[in-house]
């Protein structure tokens, strides 16, 4: 009898606990939501990555709400399409702050969009996490800006560092370099980084003419590079250009000991499946891949959720490039809110500066300028891609990490002609 009473008591206790939990969850969700506002490219040239980032952020919001929200309140994302145009950013953020009354803001995707949002964050004294911005805070030194790109305080040098770290292992040492870059800020950064690296290693730059950003046919340019017969070819290009340059390299049959380095956009499944086997041999920077040493708590769960939803959402189906970073970006913001129990910019900014954050892309710590305290970029080589099937680009079988040495998942195939076969 006693035992029966005890069981009943326990069951009753459990029921009360469940009821209390349910009530707490209900009251949290019934509370005013914490609104996080941002612009995100859903159209225009940045839309591919913008859509992928938005899906990741929505997954974060679902996960966070399933855990009870933030500070006991549900989270709500408020976002508008900036059309990849910085001119749309000021009105969007003003609407977010003045009309939608968001509690926190986040950035849209990439450098020019972040640059337009940063002064607005400064005027409102709010924290701004910048998604894949290059040196956005270098001139402003805003103490509440934090960059979600692992390029460190000197992005110009970091853009080409993994390429040269691997090139240093080549025997005999390479002695000549050609650089293919557009006449824009990103291209100038790559050029600056390459010149510094060449000078440090005593290499000779044999080609460094920039091309207009609107250029689409690169066969003549690639032939000019071929005529200089360089050991290394550094390519620092933007998404559309990267595909066209890769095609021109395949068409002309350019050969060197290493080709690539900073070809933005080749990390997306769209670009990879457009090029198919033409991508073989190119080396390129990477921020994250599901390599064994880069699988952190939550990484693969996130990827599984993302990939399950990506096809229906019509976004990058694999999502190795920007998506994990967009998720991690909000993880850090949420950790700061929970850590300070506050939504105030001053408190959040100080907390983010003072702490290291565990995220799905690893531990993140910021330096004084808001960039990553320690850069973390990799070099991959596309190897043995046989078709344009998206499955070829999952895992690290064909996206082989060739540097830095402690992260390698395979060896560099060199010269380029050998990897091309």
């Amino acid at each position: 009898m006693r035992q029966k009473v005890s069981v009943l008591r326990r069951l009753g206790g459990c029921a009360i606990a469940v009821l209390a939990g349910a009530l707490a969850a209900t009251s949290a969700l019934a509370a005013d939501p914490i609104k996080i506002g941002f612009s995100m490219a859903q159209s225009g040239p940045l839309a591919g990555s913008g859509k992928s980032a938005l899906l990741a952020m929505k997954i974060w919001a679902e996960d966070q709400n399933a855990k009870g929200g933030l500070l006991g309140r549900p989270v709500e994302l408020v976002y508008y399409d900036d059309q990849s145009n910085p001119a749309n950013v000021p009105p969007i953020y003003t609407k977010l702050l003045d009309v939608d009354k968001v509690d926190l803001i986040n950035s849209g995707y990439a450098t020019p969009i972040i640059a337009a949002a940063l002064p607005i964050a400064m005027q409102h004294d709010m924290v701004l996490m910048g998604l894949f911005g290059l040196a956005n805070n270098a001139k402003l030194n805003y103490d509440k800006y934090f960059s979600m790109a692992p390029t460190g305080e000197d992005p110009a040098k970091v853009a080409t560092k993994p390429f040269f770290d691997v090139a240093d292992q080549l025997v005999p040492k390479p002695s000549t370099i050609a650089v293919i870059t557009p006449d824009i800020q990103f291209g100038h950064s790559v050029l600056e980084g390459t010149r510094a690296a060449a000078e440090a290693r005593g290499m000779k730059i044999v080609y460094d003419r920039t091309f207009p950003p609107s250029m689409t046919d690169f066969s003549t340019l690639v032939r000019e590079v071929q005529a200089t017969n360089p050991d290394l070819v550094v390519v620092g290009t933007q998404p559309g250009q990267s595909i066209n340059v890769a095609r021109a390299i395949a068409e002309v049959g350019l050969n060197a000991r290493m080709i690539g380095g900073s070809m933005t956009g080749l990390q997306t499944t769209d670009a990879e499946t457009i090029l198919g086997p033409q991508i073989n041999g190119l080396v390129n920077f990477a921020y994250w891949l599901p390599a064994p040493k880069l699988q952190f708590p939550g990484s693969m769960d996130f990827l599984a959720k993302y990939q399950a939803k990506a096809k229906a959402a019509g976004v990058d189906p694999i999502g190795y490039y920007v998506a994990p970073w967009a998720y991690a970006d909000l993880q850090i913001l949420a950790a700061a809110v929970e850590g300070t129990k506050s939504l105030e910019g001053d408190k959040l900014g100080a907390f983010i500066h003072a702490n290291t954050f565990k995220t799905i892309i690893g531990d993140v710590q910021f330096g004084p300028g808001g960039e990553w305290a320690k850069p973390r970029t990799f070099l991959i080589q596309f190897q043995n891609v046989k078709s344009k099937d998206a499955n070829e680009f999952t895992g690290t079988d064909h996206l082989v990490l060739v540097g830095p040495p402690d992260m390698k998942t395979g060896d560099l195939i060199t010269p380029f002609d050998k990897a091309r076969q």
């Binding site: 059309q83 910085p86 001119a87 009105p91 969007i92 003003t94 609407k95 003045d98 006449d183 800020q185």
Partner: protein
């Protein structure tokens, strides 16, 4: 002359009423969205002076706008200059470039002139990209002061200046229409050879049109760095400015000052509303369909559809 001042008085009253209504709403978003619409009113009217009245299609709107913007940036780096002075300087520089471009390219007609103006934008963008003094390819920040006396926020001050410029450009457009200058423009647009043969000084008139059009675009561009707060070449030379500045007069109608104003108000407002409502790639589809619809249903623009052109002719 009294009709001109009567019109100017009415335009000023309308502008004051609009500004008061925007302030009454009580948030800065209305000013940010309104600024863009007013900027397009100026650009569309300025484009129409050369494209609508004279019939020379200018694809280089972004080049003149960027010239104004970068003149402001350059001046700001030399000395702390007030925004109205930047606008005047931007207007002078863009007007002079317009004059020079006109002198060099007005022998070209039709599509060849249009391509030359497009080339101007490419050349200027390359120059600016490699001119580090104004930020070069890295761009330049232009942080707005938090408060401005009388107006409160800086965006309200910028809207006031853009509204003033819009009144000026509309008044000038209307004055051109009702003057001998306007008749000369129309003669060139209808048949340039015939106009030349009957004694119309075509080159001089075309130069006046390119200079005026360029100057107004440059003035509209000077506040751009403070609106964006970060100016870099791809933003300043964005093709959207050219596309919108051409589409707006075409939607409204190119033969009267009212056409570009109406087109800019409608399309500009629609774009702002769609950006924060539909907010996906569908907005591009809607704007595209709108343009196709107007081209098919109203080839002479809204003023043609409403019969305003005819009324004016018969008046």
């Amino acid at each position: 002359m009294s009709a001109f001042f009567r019109f100017l008085g009415l335009a000023i009253i309308a502008a004051c009423a609009l500004f008061a209504a925007m302030r009454a709403v009580g948030n800065d978003y209305v000013f940010y969205a309104g600024y863009t619409v007013l900027e397009y009113v100026v650009l569309a009217c300025a484009w129409n002076i050369l494209g609508g009245y004279v019939g020379y299609v200018n694809f280089g709107v972004a080049a003149f706008l960027a010239l104004g913007a970068y003149t402001g940036v350059a001046l700001g780096r030399i000395a702390p200059v007030p925004l109205p002075v930047m606008m005047l300087a931007g207007g002078v520089v863009a007007g002079l470039v317009g004059l020079g471009t006109g002198y060099l390219t007005l022998r070209l007609r039709g599509i060849f002139f249009a391509i030359a103006t497009l080339a101007l934008a490419v050349v200027l963008q390359t120059l600016i990209t490699n001119w580090d003094f104004v930020g070069g390819s890295a761009g330049v920040y232009a942080i707005r002061p938090k408060h401005v006396p009388i107006f409160g926020s800086y965006i309200q001050y910028m809207v006031f200046l853009m509204l003033t410029l819009a009144v000026v450009v509309v008044a000038v457009s209307r004055a051109i229409e009702t003057s001998g200058l306007g008749l000369g423009f129309v003669a060139i647009r209808d048949d340039e050879v015939a106009a030349e043969a009957t004694g119309v000084p075509t080159l001089r008139l075309k130069l006046i049109a390119t200079a005026l059009s360029g100057a107004f675009m440059g003035m509209a561009g000077a506040p751009l760095p403070y609106y964006l707060t970060f100016l870099e070449p791809s933003s300043a030379f964005n093709l959207t400015y050219a596309v919108n500045s051409i589409a707006m007069p075409l939607i409204g109608g190119t033969t009267m000052w009212f056409g570009p104003v109406l087109g800019a108000l409608l399309l500009g407002t629609a774009q702002q509303v769609i950006t924060v409502t539909i907010s996906s790639e569908v907005n591009l589809l809607i704007v595209g369909l709108l343009l196709i619809g107007f081209v098919v249903l109203a080839p002479q623009g809204l003023i043609g559809l409403l019969g305003l052109t005819g009324k004016r002719r018969s008046a």
